[in-house]
Symmetry: C2
Subunit: 168 residues, 2 copies
C-alpha cells in the first residue's frame, strides 16, 4: 500500500484573521500541503463572520482531507471582551473539525515554541524560521498567522511521533 | 398562499448546556415549535463537545427550517477563562446558523427582559412566566436554559414586528 502520509490541519483562530496550515508527514518528514489565512469581512455582523470561517474550513477539509487537527490552548490573560471573541473563533474551528470527525490536539503556546525551537520563550521570528526549516522551504512567503498555524501542525506531528516512540 | 408563519430559533449558548427555543409567529401570535437543551459530554475534550452542539443544531435546523435566529449579546463581566468558554459555544451557534444562511439578531440581556417583562432588571422567574404566557402554555415543563432561549426568540419576533411597524 502506498504511504500517503498523515495530513494534519493546524489552526490559529481569530475573529478577524484565522491562520491555517496543512502539513503532511511522509516517511518521518513534514511537507507543506497548504497554508494561508481566512479573513472575515470586518463590516459584517459577527455571526456572518463566523460563518465565513466555518465555510472556508469545510472547503479546506473537503479539499485536503486532514485526519487530525491541532490548536493552541487558551491564553487566559486576555480581557473578557477579547476572550469572548477569541473563544468564538476557536469554537468555530473546533466545530468544523469535530463535525468532520477530525480529532483535535491542544498545545500550550510555550509547548509549541519549545517543541519547534527548544525554548518555551522563543521569539516569533525564531519559530517562523524553524517552521520554514522543518518544511524545507527556503523563502517562506506566508503571513504570520499562517506560520503560527503551521507551527501548531508541526508540533502536533512531533508530539504524535514522540508518543508513538515512547508508547505513551 | 397559506401562511406558514415565521420560524425563529433562539439560542442560549453554553459549553455545558446550550438552550434552544424554536418559535413560530403566525397571524401575529407566537407559538411553540420546539424547545430543549443540548448537553455536551463533560468528560470529552472541548472540540468534541463543540461538535455535539454543532451537529445537534444542524439537525434542529434541518427539522424545523427556522428562517431567522437570535442570541443574547456578550456579557462582558465574566473572567477571561469562562469568557473564552462562553465564546466558544457562541461561535458554534453562530457558525451553525450562518452556514445555513440564517441571519442572526443579537440582543442585550436587559433588552430581552425589557421586551418581555417591561423592566430590564426583571428576575428570571418573571421572564420565564412571560415566556409561557406569550406561548399560551399553562404549565411549562422546560428547563431554565430552554426558557431563556425561548425568551430570546420571542424578543426577536417582537422587535422585528416593531421595526416593521415603525419602518425602521
Amino acid at each position: 500500500m502506498a504511504d500517503n502520509g498523515l495530513i494534519v490541519l493546524g489552526l490559529d483562530p481569530g475573529t478577524r484573521v484565522t491562520g491555517y496550515g496543512i502539513v503532511r508527514e511522509i516517511s518521518g518528514q513534514a511537507e507543506l500541503v497548504a497554508t494561508g489565512t481566512i479573513r472575515t469581512p470586518a463590516k459584517k455582523d459577527m455571526a456572518t463572520r463566523m460563518g465565513v470561517i466555518f465555510d472556508k474550513l469545510q472547503e479546506l477539509i473537503r479539499l485536503h482531507s486532514p485526519v487530525e487537527a491541532a490548536i493552541e490552548s487558551v491564553f487566559v490573560s486576555k480581557n473578557p471582551s477579547s476572550a469572548i471573541k477569541l473563544g468564538q473563533a476557536r469554537g468555530v474551528c473546533m466545530a468544523a473539525c469535530a463535525t468532520n470527525n477530525i480529532p483535535m490536539g491542544e498545545y500550550e503556546p510555550t509547548k509549541v515554541k519549545k517543541n519547534l525551537v527548544g525554548v518555551g520563550s522563543a521569539p516569533k521570528s525564531q519559530v517562523a524560521f524553524m517552521v520554514a526549516h522543518c518544511l524545507g522551504i527556503k523563502k517562506p512567503d506566508w503571513p504570520e498567522d499562517a506560520s503560527d498555524a503551521l507551527a501548531i501542525a508541526i508540533c502536533h506531528l512531533n508530539e504524535r511521533r514522540m508518543r508513538k516512540l515512547t508508547g505513551r
